[in-house]
Amino acid sequence: MIQSVELRKSYGSNEVLRDVSLTIQKGEVFGFVGSNGSGKTTFLKCLAGIARPDSGSLDICGVNVLKNPLAARKRLGYAPGETSLYESMRVKGFLSFCLSFYKSADFSGALQMVETFGIPLHQRVRALSHGMKRKLLLTQAIASGGEVILLDEPMEGLDPEARRKVEAIIRDCASQGRTVFFSSHDLSSVERVCDRVGFLRNGELMRCGALEEILSEASQFLQLSFQEENREKVFAALKGIPAEVSAVSGDLEDVFASLYGPEGKEGKQ
């Protein structure tokens, strides 16, 4: 459904994507994780045909995005990370505008979804909160009817309840055979909805695989609990130290920390 082969993209001397290769199957939910500036948004922009890669190939539903971006865009729904919208429009008008470009768009479905999110249809977009704008963007992406849904930070700015709703919608899309590709800093959401996860660091795909596989690696981590005065001794040697050593089941936070180190963890929101 989505195939990227050795994708490279630079902005001037700044190499943003370095030989990113990955394949995502139909009906899969793929989470793209990485610290700020790691290249997630640029990769999504390349997929949506907004940014042009310097080299490599990119296919969506068998259509080459670089050679035929228009045909590729017909097959995807896209929600950008930026929540600056056409502020003077009303919610209904905004949805109508966004969906008017798609033949397979489901406008009544979009209206229903907006109702589910509790967004007033006749409200001006400028009057919506950041979270509501995020939900509106998600709505137009899903209602576009595209076989592939690209979401840039869909959970950002959402309250826990809304996040759960969005997760359910994403899973629902996947159950209909649609492919969902989203970038996120919210690792708990990624863990709950994704089938596969990719970790991007400085434009390089560090790790990519099924969620279970990655989490099983995470469970190899050890958690050490000890008194502060014993810190040096713990680092010196484990044996014979009065510390409790226990294996705990890890999560994506642990994987993230192991891949990105303390700096990456700080960068993660």
Binding site: K45, G49, I50, L70, K74, Y78, P80, Y86, E87, F101
Partner: protein
């Protein structure tokens, strides 16, 4: 045509303002015409500060109400107010999307970049033309009130010709809009160049270098003789075409 409709909606107040200014200026000028005509226009020439204005006054004396209409509506209305409206409308075509950070959302739609520009260019062209035509009709209606006759067919033909001038300005502004990320910068650039060109027009030594020559009285008077200023029309149309082509190339190459 969704983008054209959006453009019309976004610029409806500007278009209304443009129509209002054109209408008010033309109405006031037309109603003032009897005073000017009866006072003897040539007596005013000595008080006019710039050579081109004196030539306009001599044209009024020689050619009558048509020359007055051509200067008031075609030169001032289309040439000056029209260029200002074109600058304000055209500067936002791409730069405003970038400035407002809506470009990403728009470019992710299944619509080509050239189509985005062409729809907006078409919408802007209509918004520049309709107020000019409407106010020309107003002038034809007002002319009998001041005991003059304005042939509506000739006046409309001359208006369509004069519209090519703000259209060229609009097309050039659209090109600058594809280069800039800030609408105000693009608008200031075009309006600044227009003011400079008008200054050139008023200075006899620089008069030949002013683009406002293309729609001044000498050219628009051709319509009263049953002629069409083909060379000037082709020049303006070519400027628009080249600007549109350059805009499409620039927008296609632009990275986001």
């Amino acid at each position: 045509m969704m983008l054209a409709r959006l453009f019309w909606r976004e610029h409806r107040m500007l278009a209304l303002g443009y129509t209002g200014i054109l209408g008010a200026a033309l109405t006031a000028a037309t109603l003032y015409w009897p005073n000017l005509r009866d006072a003897g226009i040539l007596t005013l020439v000595q008080y006019l500060p710039f050579e081109p204005l004196k030539e306009f006054a001599e044209g009024f004396e020689r050619e009558g109400f048509w020359a007055y209409f051509a200067v008031q509506h075609l030169f001032r209305g289309a040439g000056m107010f029209g260029v200002a409206a074109a600058g304000l409308m055209g500067s936002g075509i791409v730069a405003r999307e970038v400035d407002n950070r809506t470009a990403e959302l728009l470019l992710s739609r299944p619509i080509s970049r050239s189509r985005i520009l062409m729809e907006r260019w078409f919408a802007g062209a209509v918004l520049l033309l309709v107020p000019l035509l409407a106010t020309t009709c107003l002038a034809a209606y007002l002319a009998p009130q001041v005991e003059e006759v304005l042939d509506i067919k000739t006046a409309l033909a001359a208006t369509v010709f004069a519209w090519l001038f703000p259209l060229a300005a609009f097309s050039i502004t659209m090109f600058f809009s594809t280069l800039f990320s800030n609408q105000i910068k693009a608008a200031i650039l075009v309006l600044g160049v227009s003011i400079l060109q008008m200054a050139f027009y008023l200075i006899p030594e620089l008069w030949n270098y002013s683009i406002f020559n293309i729609i001044d009285l000498d050219v628009t008077l051709k319509f009263t003789r049953g002629e069409f200023p083909m060379q000037e029309a082709c020049t303006l149309a070519a400027v628009s075409l080249v600007s549109v082509a350059a805009s499409i190339c620039s927008f296609r190459r632009r990275g986001f």
